[in-house]
Symmetry: C2
Subunit: 281 residues, 2 copies
């Protein structure tokens, strides 16, 4: 659906802010990117956490060297979906990896500032009638360059949890909750055995996206969570499902990977959260 509507908008000269996951397949993402380029419109993928302060601060900490050399990222994202929810419909791009696993994948990428080179997953279909068409739950391992590992588990059939931790040779940062847009997000930073807790009050993440996207259009700049950013995550999700189907680790084959596609993250700080308070929805 995203692909068709994005292309129709592009043909009409309308800029596109597209929800995540960008589309269901690699091929659809490429068509969207091509359509945007041909029509000279802006295409942004709505990764709201790229404009959220707790996550941007986590990127700053990860980059700062405070944690030492980064070694691993672990994440859990679970919720209970209602029967018949769009997330449980295969033709609508349903499935736990597409809808919520993509947050874990994207977070591993913005914290490591890199892309995975090998992925493996165990998917669980379960016997719950809600999940006749899609996986209920998936556990994933992602190998990153420089001997770094990411692991996550995402589920549509468990109580609400949204968290990650990043662990280095010298320190650990836990963010829990990490992916919510209601209520505060919380950091627990442990260095030398001392833990410091920081609460980030809830902010309007969607307003920040809109303000930033408008700025990109008005100033003729490419949005930072670009089509390529969305494409890479979809390629990784597809690789994870292939790994599950073929019962073996898979190379995501990110032919489109631009290692610098998210190095501008920190420039977005100005949009989160103070800036958009002046522009309430």
């Amino acid at each position: 659906m995203h692909c068709e509507y994005a292309q129709r908008a592009a043909r009409a000269g309308i800029h596109v802010l597209c929800e995540k996951p960008m589309a269901v397949t690699d091929s659809e993402c490429r068509q969207m990117i091509r359509a945007a380029r041909q029509s000279h419109i802006k295409l942004m993928v709505a990764y709201r956490l790229h404009l959220e302060k707790a996550n941007l601060r986590a990127v700053t900490i990860a980059r700062s060297g405070k944690l030492g050399k980064l070694r691993m990222f672990n994440s859990t994202f679970t919720m209970q979906v209602r029967p018949g929810d769009i997330r449980t419909q295969r033709k609508m791009g349903g499935g736990s990896l597409y809808d919520i696993g993509v947050y874990c994948i994207n977070a591993a990428r913005y914290l490591f500032q890199d892309n995975p080179v090998e992925v493996s997953t165990f998917a669980v279909k379960g016997t719950d009638r809600r999940f006749r068409e899609v996986d209920e739950m998936s556990g994933a391992l992602l190998r990153f360059p420089d001997g770094r590992l990411a692991s996550f588990v995402c589920s549509f059939g468990a109580t609400d949890v949204s968290s990650y931790e990043i662990i280095g040779t010298k320190g650990r940062l836990q963010v829990d909750p990490a992916f919510e847009y209601v209520g505060p997000l919380v950091h627990r930073l442990t260095l030398n055995g001392e833990t410091k807790t920081t609460r980030f009050p809830a902010s309007d993440q969607f307003a920040a996206e809109l303000v930033y996207f408008s700025d990109c259009i008005r100033r003729n700049r490419e949005p930072e969570p670009s089509g390529v950013e969305g494409l890479i995550d979809v390629q990784i999700v597809q690789a994870l499902y292939r790994s599950s189907a073929h019962r073996k680790p898979t190379l995501p084959g990110l032919r489109s990977a631009s290692p610098n596609s998210f190095t501008r993250n920190l420039h977005l700080c100005k949009y989160a959260p103070e800036h958009h308070k002046q522009f309430p929805l």
Copy 2:
């Protein structure tokens, strides 16, 4: 080394309390179990957390149904080992899965009260000179019956972390720290959006083991973390290393698995922690 010494002790009629991991291979564990049976001595594997209150309480919560149907277990166990440490020597049974991964495996088993049916791992050798002989770090996925998943990451080359969480359809229990014997262990139990924190003061876990093992000898009872319990974990560790070597998920093939081998866990509560306070080392 464990295998040789346990067999020599058995031949001399001496009871054996053996550190974890029980041995390096499935075959060694079986030899130890056979030797103990033939010599009518008691053989116990020193899983200190089977006699530790925070972990026993976690088992009680997991079994109680408070969390709903259990869906996943996630764990992190990391530390920095010194160069030349025995844990980095292959012939001494070194490697992160043998030494600390075994805690995560054992915890998943005592919390799920079950054994995994399929496992997958990504091992990291790294370029650090400490890890020329063994893996520095491993990430693992374990599939359990009834569509449950366990994931963990263990490392010898990262800051100190020892934690797990168990998530059900209705609640989440985090234990962090979970595997330490110095300092308190902490529960965070989240039900209906409310989180309750419980601190379990440090107790002498080793004294509890000795008192319990002595009782088993004096009363002629089989110790609960038996040789079979140790064997199953070694079989799983070997399956995880095979998965890494062959780059594919592996069936642990637990021919010796007794599903009831840890159902007596809760009887051990009386040894932890009040009981052994009367018997300080």
